[in-house]
């Protein structure tokens, strides 16, 4: 039986709810306590009180009280509902669903509980459950359109397209008259129905339907794009061409429209026969306006030979005379064709040697543009020689200096100079130059960001955060860094984490990568609000896009990057657990050179230092917090971070399990990323999950059978298999033998390795892999390997990064200090400007 209250207290209870809604938590608590004084065991009130506590951040107390409330009144839907809400607030959706279902059993027609349940079901992608909930809700209130739409969405997401369409049509048939044009919800709903029809593949029907609704539809662009698309798919070329021409009349810079027009005219860029026509087509569009860029730029993609030279000349002159700063980024896509690259280089070099006096008549008539011409040319050439496909850093520097000379305060010229230094490997100078560029316009946020990034690349973490703080909300808990977390500034966290990783400050590195992991988690949770919001606003098409995007959220390149780095850290922690403590001291003392006793002492000292430092940091933070009252961006109280340096993260007992957390979404969402497969192998091999390790090898081999890491890993896998202390159980071992065809049991590994080398005599990374394998097969060959490693530095095509990887490899072999020094000396001779060789290793 529900517990009864006297009428006075009933009204008090309603007030509690009201206070809760209006977020007057203190008043709400007071009223709740007033009821509880007379009815100490009133479940509903206790539940409400716990809900308020939860909103005030007292999660643990809230749960305790909610459980008590349930004990007092098991049959109250309020208690169960609140219990569900609490679970929901801590993101445990499965428990929340259970609680809601209990609440619904008691109060089967509560619209509110039903809706909350439905929201959780779609969040968890329980489509069948969602369909059921939505059906119930529709039956409760059929007069509300969004209930119909929502049921259609449920069917749609579950893949039952016909059913979804039927629901929408059924509702439309009940309308007495077509809603007015101003009814956005209607306009969106019919367009949504059209996309469903198109998804069934019946384009003719979709087209007919679209034509019927065009007149009253508000999203004109979408209608026109969809129509053109359907026409093209139905092979109605003439009409499609007209449709794309209409679209181009609205936006003549959008490449997709040009592509559509080409297709509907039956033209193909790769077909020589249609080039003439294509050229005419684009020419006719270029004629339409002086400012149109796309129609002038696209022909450069398909023209070749003399035609290309002429068109490129015209295009480049036009852009450079105007002084368009983005000319090079516009052009560089053409560089994959080496012929075109050469033509462009010749052309622009030619411009540079033209004197201003010889400028064309057009330029003379406009003094301003002719002044622009030469600096723009220099700027272009500097970027050209800085670009990795046409790199010549000496020339790049020469040209950028000329450009800067003509205008010392040009922000972008100075920025490019910084980039050139970066490619030289001189991060110190790059950061300084970028900082100079930043000071030229301190209100330019882009430059500020660039500068911080360059400082992070130079491992100046404090300077970088200081730079960032010029544009952050610094009164947040944790200051500028705290605000960057709140604002989910993933690029900064990534760069900061990678910088700490380079410095072997593993705790801080992990801290940043975990923060990134959590941000992706938050993005996943963020969709929750839209399950109801989008329906209410009637924006169904955008909602469907969002749901599908969320399903593939972690294929984001930033996730991949953070995951790869984080897993590397965890692997390092697994292989050398002593690093965890060493990194506490914010530096790696030479552990190998000490005996056990000294090592222990050093560790102890390091730990003590660390503790002392943390205590000091806490003291400072406390003071700051007291001063500023510490609120988050949304004004709600925020919890202090108990582990700001990540020392707890580093001390994890299960680095491999932690690594797997990052790895699983990586392999699932970006299976085509070979680095992911490479690192997956490392994790699974250490976890002795040999089948999964094999899976990674097979996947990598299907992506690139000559991948250097794959070669080394496959050999290592074979060696591991043959040296297991006890053989693998059946059927595991036979499955492995049957499918590990990369290196059958009988392979002579040494010969296999030599064959690999002979296939890749000139590729530093492949030779690294070869040396790594040889080191494992014949540990006595180390000195020979070291020699060969050093010889690699003389290779024509070796890149700075590869040289650094070589150094890391020497480090992994615990080569002697003099070997490393000789290596670094040779490398420095080759890259005189580079500051990149990590001090921690030398």
């Amino acid at each position: 039986m529900p517990q009864q209250l006297s009428s006075k207290e009933q009204s008090l209870f309603r007030q509690v709810i009201k206070y809760y809604e209006s977020k007057q938590y203190k008043k709400g608590l007071k009223a709740a306590e007033q009821i509880l004084r007379k009815n100490p065991n009133h479940g509903d009130t206790q539940a409400m009180k716990s809900l308020i506590q939860n909103s005030q951040g007292q999660t643990d107390e809230a749960f305790a009280l909610a459980k008590l409330a349930l004990k007092n009144d098991m049959k109250s839907h309020v208690c169960w509902h609140v219990y569900g809400l609490l679970w929901r607030s801590v993101k445990n959706f499965e428990e929340a669903i259970k609680a809601y279902k209990f609440a619904l059993k008691i109060e089967s027609d509560s619209i509110q509980i039903q809706r909350d349940l439905a929201l959780l079901q779609i969040q968890m992608r329980d489509f069948q459950g969602y369909i059921q909930s939505r059906k119930t809700m529709l039956q409760q209130r059929p007069q509300i359109r969004q209930n119909w739409t929502a049921l259609a969405v449920a069917y749609h997401l579950a893949g039952e397209l016909q059913e979804a369409e039927k629901i929408l049509t059924t509702y439309e048939d009940t309308l007495k008259q077509t809603p007015p044009k101003s009814d956005i919800e209607h306009s969106e709903a019919v367009l949504y129905k059209n996309t469903i029809i198109a998804e069934t593949g019946e384009f003719q029907r979709a087209l007919d339907h679209l034509e019927a609704i065009t007149k009253n539809n508000l999203d004109r662009t979408a209608v026109m794009e969809m129509r053109a698309d359907y026409l093209l798919r139905l092979d109605k070329k003439e009409e499609a061409a007209q449709a794309y021409r209409d679209l181009l009349a609205r936006n003549n810079e959008y490449r997709a429209y040009y592509d559509g027009l080409e297709k509907s005219l039956g033209l193909d860029k790769s077909d020589k026969g249609s080039r003439q026509k294509l050229n005419e087509l684009y020419d006719s569009y270029a004629q339409q306006g002086e400012r149109i860029d796309a129609a002038r730029r696209i022909p450069l993609d398909f023209l070749d030979g003399d035609d290309f030279r002429k068109a490129a000349d015209r295009y480049l002159r036009r852009m450079l005379t105007k002084g368009v700063p983005s000319t090079f980024p516009n052009i560089k896509a053409l560089y994959s064709n080496s012929e075109k690259k050469q033509v462009i280089q010749d052309l622009v070099e030619g411009y540079a040697s033209e004197t201003v006096v010889n400028g064309s008549a057009e330029k003379q008539s406009d003094g301003e543009t002719s002044k622009n011409f030469h600096p723009s040319v220099y700027y272009f050439l500097a970027q050209h020689y800085d670009y990795h496909m046409s790199r010549n850093l000496v020339k790049a520097l020469e040209y950028i200096d000329k450009a800067i000379e003509s205008d010392p305060s040009a922000v972008y010229y100075n920025m490019t100079k910084a980039r050139i230094w970066k490619h030289y490997g001189n991060l110190q100078r790059a950061a300084e130059t970028m900082n100079h560029a930043r000071t030229l316009d301190e209100r330019d946020r882009y430059m500020n960001t660039k500068c911080a990034k360059y400082q992070l690349r130079n491992d100046e973490n404090d300077k970088a955060i200081n730079t960032m703080s010029k544009f952050t909300r610094n009164e947040t808990v944790g200051g500028a860094l705290g605000d960057l977390h709140d604002m989910q500034c993933i690029w900064y966290l990534t760069e900061d984490g990678e910088s700490y990783f380079r410095q072997r400050k593993l705790g801080l590195a992990l801290k940043r990568f975990r923060a990134l992991y959590d941000i992706f988690e938050t993005w996943h949770e963020d969709q929750f609000d839209f399950h109801s919001f989008s329906l209410r606003k009637g924006q169904i098409r955008a909602y469907i896009d969002m749901v599908r995007w969320e399903d593939e959220l972690r294929d984001h390149p930033f996730y991949t990057r953070a995951a790869l780095s984080a897993i590397q850290v965890y692997l390092l922690l697994h292989d050398k657990p002593e690093i965890a403590h060493a990194s506490l001291a914010n530096g790696v003392p030479d552990m190998d050179g000490m005996d056990a006793n000294e090592r222990k002492k050093a560790l102890k000292k390091a730990k003590k230092d660390q503790e002392k430092k943390e205590a000091e940091a806490k003291e400072v933070e406390k003071k700051n917090a007291a001063k500023k009252g510490g609120t988050g961006a949304d004004g709600e109280p925020k919890k202090e971070d108990p582990d700001p340096t990540g020392s707890k993260l580093v001390e994890t007992k299960e680095p491999l399990e932690e690594a797997t957390k990052f790895l699983t979404p990586l392999l699932e969402m970006s299976p085509k990323n070979i680095e992911g497969q490479n690192i997956g192998f490392e994790v699974y091999l250490r976890r002795k999950k040999y089948l999964l390790a094999l899976k990674c090898l097979l996947a990598a081999s299907s992506l690139d059978s000559e991948n250097p890491s794959l070669h080394e890993q496959a050999t290592r896998f074979r060696m591991t298999l043959s040296s297991l202390s006890e053989p693998l159980p059946e059927p595991i071992s036979s499955i492995i033998e049957k499918n590990f065809t990369l290196l059958p049991k009988s392979t002579d590994l040494v010969a296999h390795n030599e064959a690999f080398l002979s296939r890749h005599k000139n590729s530093p990374r492949h030779i690294h892999a070869y040396l790594k394998v040889r080191q494992q097969l014949e540990p006595t060959s180390q000195s020979e390997n070291e020699k060969q490693m050093q010889a690699l530095l003389k290779l024509e095509n070796i890149e700075l990064e590869e040289a650094i990887e070589g150094l890391l490899l020497l480090d992994a072999w615990s080569s002697g200090a003099e070997v490393k020094k000789a290596y670094v000396d040779t490398a420095r001779e080759r890259w005189r400007e580079a500051s990149l060789f990590p001090a921690a290793i030398i």
């Binding site: 009933q10 309603r14 709810i17 009201k18 809760y20 809604e21 809900l51 309020v78 509902h81 609140v82 809400l85 509560s110 619209i111 509110q112 809706r115 909350d116 059906k135 529709l138 039956q139 409760q140 209130r141 059929p142 007069q143 509300i144 359109r145 969004q146 059913e163 039927k166 629901i167 059924t170 509702y171 048939d173 009940t174 309308l175 007495k176 008259q177 809603p179 919800e185 109801s532 919001f533 209410r536 797997t660 699983t664 299976p671 085509k672 999950k689 089948l691 999964l692 094999l694 899976k695 097979l698 996947a699 299907s702 992506l703 059927p731 595991i732 036979s734 499955i735 049957k738 499918n739």
Partner: protein, 141 residues
């Protein structure tokens, strides 16, 4: 706030929508209404807005709507029957595949899968763990 307003009225709602309180879903007694409103906005205020947009839909033909609902139920009923039929067929198929618990354990252990996924994988390969694991490991990228 000057006066307490009825829970169903919201700032900025259009006035004639507020008048149309003949909404059948609005509870009968004042108390019930308050309680319902209170509950409906426990977490979000969406519920009340539902009502608001519901009231705007004066354009809906009530008779047609009733008919539509009845049709829907029939259709849904039929469909459910149909779906059930299919499901049953599927279930029978699945049931015919016998899955040994020790195989599931083995796959969970070797492939880092959840129990549910391991079971599904086994079922998809006629309960043969070797086939299932081979397929999993050699799945194309």
């Amino acid at each position: 706030m000057a006066e307490p307003q009825p829970a169903s009225i919201h700032e900025g709602a259009d006035p004639d929508a507020a008048e149309a309180s003949e909404n059948p879903s609005v509870p009968a007694t004042a108390d019930d209404r308050k309680a319902a409103a209170a509950l409906s906005s426990l977490e979000t205020h969406g519920g009340a807005e539902d009502e608001e947009s519901g009231r705007k839909k004066l354009n809906v033909d009530a008779d047609a709507l009733g008919k539509a609902m009845r049709n829907l139920e029939i259709v849904a009923g039929e469909n459910r029957g149909g779906a059930k039929g299919k499901e049953e067929v599927k279930k029978e198929e699945v049931k015919r595949v016998k899955v040994e618990a020790k195989d599931v354990v083995l796959m969970v252990e070797q492939l880092d899968l959840s129990k549910l996924k391991a079971t599904d994988l086994l079922k998809a390969h006629d309960g043969d763990p070797i086939k299932a694991m081979t397929a999993y490991v050699t799945a194309p990228v």
